[in-house]
């Protein structure tokens, strides 16, 4: 077996485990830290798929900013009340998700997807090619994203501000 396949198996097992921990652990801080691990593993998968720039951005944006924000809010609110656990609801939710996973997997593994990748050139996934694509074909969405972020900043400030 190829070494990259073994690496893929190891990472995917860890990834599924940490994602399950995000959903099933009772302590919110533990959930958040499991999510950090999951996002980090996904970043490693990105690097394996010749997307080093996106992988590093994933670590920078998610682990460095979004998850810190989550942890910060959890510690700020410090919610102590443990949530009630209703067996029926959990069973129902898990069954629905299993059904979804099964149908998605059946749909996705229909054999139409290419088994072997197109040979990547040396520059594939480098910052230059990414920027070229971002600032030529996608320049309008890029500008709209900046407006979206501005709106999000203003919205967050207005929402979280204490009323006088």
């Amino acid at each position: 077996m190829d070494a990259s396949v073994i690496l893929f198996y190891v990472i995917s097992v860890l990834l599924v485990l940490s994602s399950l921990m995000v959903v099933f652990l009772r302590n919110v801080v533990h959930c958040a830290l499991a999510l950090v691990v999951a996002l980090f593993l996904i970043a490693i998968l990105f690097v394996m798929l010749h997307a080093p720039m996106v992988g590093v951005l994933q670590v920078l944006v998610y682990a460095g900013a979004i998850m810190v924000l989550f942890l910060f809010v959890i510690m700020f609110l410090n919610p102590t009340a443990s949530e009630p656990r209703r067996k029926l609801w959990w069973g129902f939710g898990s069954a629905a998700a299993l059904l979804l996973a099964a149908s998605l997997a059946a749909l996705l593994s229909n054999g139409e997807a290419p088994a072997d990748p197109v040979t990547a050139t040396e520059t594939f996934g480098s910052p230059e090619t990414l920027a070229k694509s971002l600032f030529t074909d996608f320049v309008l969405p890029f500008e709209i994203t900046s407006v979206l972020l501005l709106v999000a900043i203003i919205g967050a400030v207005v929402l979280a501000k204490r009323e006088p």
Binding site: V5, A101, T129, T145
Partner: protein, 100 residues
């Protein structure tokens, strides 16, 4: 080399786990985190396709998804903070003031 199917099935599984979180957890912060998980599963699909079809567009879309996820997390957490200030709880079932 890992076949593309493997990546797609992996991301389907992660997405389903995220769905469980959104459906059954009774804590707003964990629900938001499960949404992040679902977004990342989709990102993984994009990157896998971008590699196997040798097109940069998948990676560009992932960058947009990250920006949207950041905005979503910021707004979501701001709403969580203001709701918690009013009702002292994070349980979405308690937030039923608009329910008929």
């Amino acid at each position: 080399m890992v076949p593309l199917d493997y990546y797609l099935i992996l991301s389907a599984v992660i997405f389903a786990i995220g769905v469980i979180g959104v459906l059954v957890r009774r804590n707003l912060i964990v629900v938001l985190m499960s949404i992040e998980l679902m977004l990342n599963a989709v990102n993984l699909t994009f990157i896998a396709f971008s590699r196997y079809l040798a097109s940069m567009q998948g990676q560009v879309v992932v960058i947009f998804v990250m920006a949207v996820a950041a905005a979503e997390a910021v707004i979501g957490l701001a709403i969580v903070i203001s709701v918690f200030r009013h009702r002292r709880t994070l349980d979405p079932q308690e937030m039923q003031l608009l329910k008929w």
